[in-house]
Symmetry: C2
């Protein structure tokens, strides 16, 4: 299933040079360039230009260590090497099948001129649509254990800009509405943080391959100068590692259009290839769940008369999934531990013991018979220490029963996760600290050994590790649809158009779209039209997509539900036809298993008239377009359910006009006819 | 010498109330009020109003602990007590002799409803011109050792505002030029951070009584919402204390005018009274030094042919000081340790061994004969661990030789201080972390035992501890005049008008004014007029004031130097006649030893015409005004030395027009005549 297609991969190594004042490199097509220099005090900085214009003004590099003098002054450029790389690899599942990984690499060795004579490399990978760079600490006498107090990496925006961001270090973790402010008004921000310069350039700041290190937030020092701010650790250091080791990649996706950020493969390319071998057992799918009814207070996670996770309710969902060709059924609240004050505690959760009214074996047997899988659920309340004490048993049980995917959960306030320290004690931790980074990879690798996929909620941020561990299929990590159930406020119409150009740049999100019942506990209810709910299946990528609403709402509305039945969750290609951050976007994706294409267009609170040129379709071929569009009176506030479903024949030369209502959207399936002939 | 004059001090204690949703209190004259509430989740917040209008919108309180669940949810208002206080106390030295300390106090006990049932008090002291509040942790079973990960205290500005601030956590410590931005553009900021709302209200955020705790910076979360950000500690916690203990006071000075911030006594009043007893040995004074010549590269700290700290040079300075009635002579570079790469190291400094060309005993004997004191010098390069190993010997030596004041120094990059941890190991530390707070008080108390005063450079921030330890006479803690010697850039003309309304609100600063030689290594040189240099002695308060220039510049200009000879360093009263942050200010102070008043007015880069009503003078009494003003052509850029010195007779009914040049100033001595008669 998985193979790597090396089109061209060759090396060009320049012999280490004598100490030079600076080192430079351009991207393969000379779009981006980077320059690293050291100043009179031996302080290194880097700068990034695009087509000759500064994008990142000279910005510092270095570290403060907690047990040794900082690594930031007195450095000399002791070596320099460059390398070219060009390879195309295949994703086992994803937004596209083939990914080209083409970059020029600049490796610079910085060494202290005297004193401890410590050294580290800074490695830049220049793509035409972005830059990644990381530090690499080699094995060396005077820096065995690296205890990082602060990473001093800076990002100084060269041009005035608007920024989309959410705050860091707040009581919540990642579930905020996005701010859209001037760059000079950003506070401590999480990544991805997305920037549009006044000149129209789009830049997204994030990181790739967050392994055994603390997640990076960004602090704005002053003006447009940002600095890495590592998530606190559980000891004196924010990160503690033994050399040799690399840091995660600090990434900048850079594009003229907002859509160019979405189609960038930078984050994935900077991760290591699949280490799991054959992962054909990882199955993209759609699923329903015993879930939304809890968010609406119709059922409870806890046991009792309103308990949602009963055998009967599970079987009902399995029947529905089987009937409609959905692959999975999630059941939350199946296991003992939900009855006390579990929030922020989590030590009472059992990962093997079901409630008496939930016959786990019967449910999984029944599902298997119906060709459906039960999606397991491991809520931890962020008590990773407790979870790890039962995790293997939990996964063993699931493996035995044929559960191939598990949703994990880490509900707790920020800073209130619990991890087992190296000292054998339980420590309070942040969701994105080094210990939690380790924990999540432990979960993913333990699950992989049992051929189980992981969908983590309240997770550590996505940094593209799905390339290395393709069983890490999705996660939450932003305000999901649940906020439209009970949020005060809920998700406003612009929320998804923000997500696509910020959070979604990191990777798949289990957003749980597909709501038709728009009245909820949230004051504005679900603030989209029905057509937009359908369009979310195309615009918000995840290989595991929930049909989140109550089954009765689907049963009552089979026609719009048809799109949810049809839409794939695995793609051969993805293109962005248009889009502006926080305003609107149109995305088309080609099904991996057929020649069909799917289009999703969504808007914020404004009505839109967008143009979609169908040039992505195969030339000369006919397609039947099954269109799910906003009706004439559609409006998220007054008539969300006004949807028109119609068909027309199209070819690659057609240009569609997409009329989106306020808070609206449009979803289209392009069904390929036999070549050269109109489809029947 | 020191006595406390209790005009009225009485208590009114309301018995602890039953759990109430909120607690409220007003300041004595009902100017300010505070309200503390808990929400449905038991999260406490406070709000501050002034004359009925919100100043601080509801803002969170609480803590994240590193080894226990956070203290922030699930809290109930378990007790409430109020108290009134009114006392006038005397400063042994200061900006004014008598200080009224009049406030209403609200003490609220917050207790966890269940679980660990931990508790803490929040104590508010409401003055009419400001608010201080702190947390107090009582002795209790489930919270013996308090390991604070984050203090969650927030400050949410109710009104749009402009803010003057310098960044926190940068490579330097406190030596920055001030930013003047909208509130929404502040990054991580140090305190004092000064705010002017668009309605014209002035608010300064700072802290008082920073004892055995980490210094507080402010992070802007989003919009105008700021959050306490404690300086990192050397272990996993930012602060580690054993209960019972109080935190420092979080302070808000609040006034209609910028000058109202300057005359506020809030910070001092929130500190504990003098614990040293008779401190008549603490002598306010002016001094010259072997110092500016090093900054100009005419001499060196290190030994060799250009060594500044020679016996001969010291004697020359002593002669000069004696001749001109200045009390002290600072000699830097007198001790062994300056010859290697001392920056950021500091382990080679000896605090007892002079260089061979500096005869310490001869110098101190000579000074004593001349009625002058040698001001000692202890540069540590922030290696507090090394300093503490010799500190007592260093102070013993100075005491034996009659040195009554020591300038300490902590030159090192931020985060690169070195402290001896409780584990017996040396740790890297931030200049304002808990360990450095402990270190500085250790220095001050060891010095006090030997009747030595301390003037700390690159210090921990001033939080008014001079009230408790009156031998802590001054400090640096901002960009001093030295930046005008070599800064790239130097201090611009607005710098001092920023300092007075920001850094100076914390306490005295050893700014080292009095420069007549305006051409330096800095591109703009010393960016003031001569008249402004003189006015700085009145506007920038310090009980120890340097006449910082080369002696030859004073000898060549005896007429303007006369003001430096005359101006006192200890005051009976201080008034601000006018002022706008970063623009201009006029301050008058009354000599503590005579009936004379002194006026200082300074401007930024703009010329000004200010009015000074002399109503502060004794009615009916005649004064000779000795005026040092900018000449007609004066301009900091083109004619800084254009000064006019003139005299006129004035009384309290006069109104002076002060014409200040760009970058200019004016200094006036009002010499009191015998009562009712013109002065001779």
């Amino acid at each position: 299933m998985l193979f790597r297609l090396a089109l061209a991969a060759w090396l060009l190594v320049i012999a280490p040079a004598v100490a030079a004042p600076s080192a430079k490199l351009e991207s393969p097509d000379k779009v981006l360039s980077v320059e690293l220099t050291t100043d009179g005090d031996g302080r290194p900085s880097y700068a990034i230009s695009r087509l000759g214009k500064p994008v990142i003004a000279p910005s510092r590099l270095g570290f403060i260590l907690v047990d040794a003098p900082k690594l930031e002054r007195n450095l000399t450029l002791a070596g320099e090497a460059t390398r070219r790389f060009d390879e195309t690899w295949e994703q086992p599942w994803g937004e596209r099948r083939f990914v080209r990984n083409r970059y020029n690499e600049l490796r610079v060795t910085l060494a202290e001129k005297n004193g401890l004579q410590r050294r580290f490399d800074v490695v830049f990978r220049l793509y035409d649509d972005g830059v990644g760079f990381r530090y690499e600490f080699p094995d060396q006498t005077n820096l065995k254990t690296v205890k990082i107090g602060e990473e001093l990496t800076e990002f100084s925006l060269a041009e005035p800009a608007t920024v989309w961001w959410i705050p860091a270090y707040e009581w919540n973790r990642e579930e905020y509405l996005y701010h859209r402010t001037r760059a000079e008004e950003v506070g401590d921000a999480q990544t991805p943080m997305t920037v549009r310069t006044d000149n129209g350039l789009h830049i997204a700041f994030h990181e790739a391959a967050l392994v055994d290190y603390s997640g990076m937030n960004l602090t704005r020092v002053e003006g447009r100068r940002f600095k890495a701010a590592l998530t606190p650790g559980v000891g004196g250091a924010k990160v503690e590692r033994t050399a040799p080791f690399p840091t995660p990649w600090r990434t900048l996706q850079i594009a003229d259009t907002a859509g160019g950020l979405v189609t960038s493969n930078l984050i994935l390319n900077l991760n290591e290839p699949n280490t799991l071998g054959d992962v054909s057992w990882v199955k993209p799918m759609k699923y329903v769940g015993v879930w939304w009814e809890m968010h609406l207070d119709k059922k409870t996670w806890a046991s009792g008369p309103k308990h949602g996770a009963t055998t009967e309710n599970a079987l009902k969902h399995i029947d529905f999934a089987a009937r409609h060709g959905l692959g999975g059924v999630l059941v939350e609240g199946w296991n003992v531990g939900w009855d006390g004050d579990w929030f922020g505690n989590g030590q009472d959760f059992s990962f093997t013991q079901p409630y008496p009214d939930f016959d786990l074996k019967r449910v999984t047997d029944y599902a298997r018979d119906k060709g459906v899988v039960l999606i397991g659920h491991h809520e931890t309340s962020a008590n990773a220490a407790h979870y790890e004490s039962q995790m293997e048993a939990g996964f063993d049980l699931y493996k035995k029963l044929g559960v191939t995917a598990v949703k994990t959960g880490y509900v707790a306030d920020a800073g209130q996760a619990k991890v087992m320290g190296l000292d054998g004690k339980v420590h309070f931790a942040w969701h994105e600290g080094q210990d939690m980074a380790r924990h999540h990879l432990k979960v993913v690798t333990e699950a992989a050994e049992r051929q189980i996929a992981i969908n983590a909620h309240e997770p550590i941020k996505d940094t593209g590790l799905r390339r290395t561990y393709p069983n890490w299929i999705s996660r939450e990590g932003a305000r999901g649809m649940e906020f439209s159930a009970w949020g005060q406020p809920g998700n406003p119409p612009e929320h998804e158009t923000n997500l696509i150009f910020t959070r979604m740049l990191a990777g798949p999100m289990d957003y749980t779209p597909g709501i038709f019942g728009m009245k909820t506990k949230s004051p504005d209810g679900v603030a989209t039209t029905w057509a937009k709910q359908l369009a979310l299946y195309v615009t918000i990528y995840s290989p595991i997509q929930m049909a989140a609403d109550l089954l009765e709402n689907y049963e009552a509305n089979p026609k719009p539900f048809k799109f949810i039945e049809d839409v794939p969750t695995d793609w051969a290609e993805t293109l962005v036809l248009n889009g502006e951050i926080g305003d609107f976007v149109t995305i088309v994706r080609k099904d991996r298993k057929s020649d069909d294409w799917y289009l999703g267009a969504i808007s914020d609170e404004e009505g839109r008239v967008l143009t979609a040129s169908l040039g992505f379709l195969e030339p000369g071929r006919h397609y039947k377009a099954q269109i799910y569009r906003d009706g004439d009176k559609a409006d998220w506030k007054t008539a969300p359910q006004d949807i028109v479903i119609e068909e027309r024949e199209v070819t690659a030369t057609d240009v569609l006009t997409l009329r989106l209502a306020p808070g609206g959207g449009q979803a289209i399936r392009f069904m390929a006819a036999s070549k050269g002939k109109p489809r029947q």
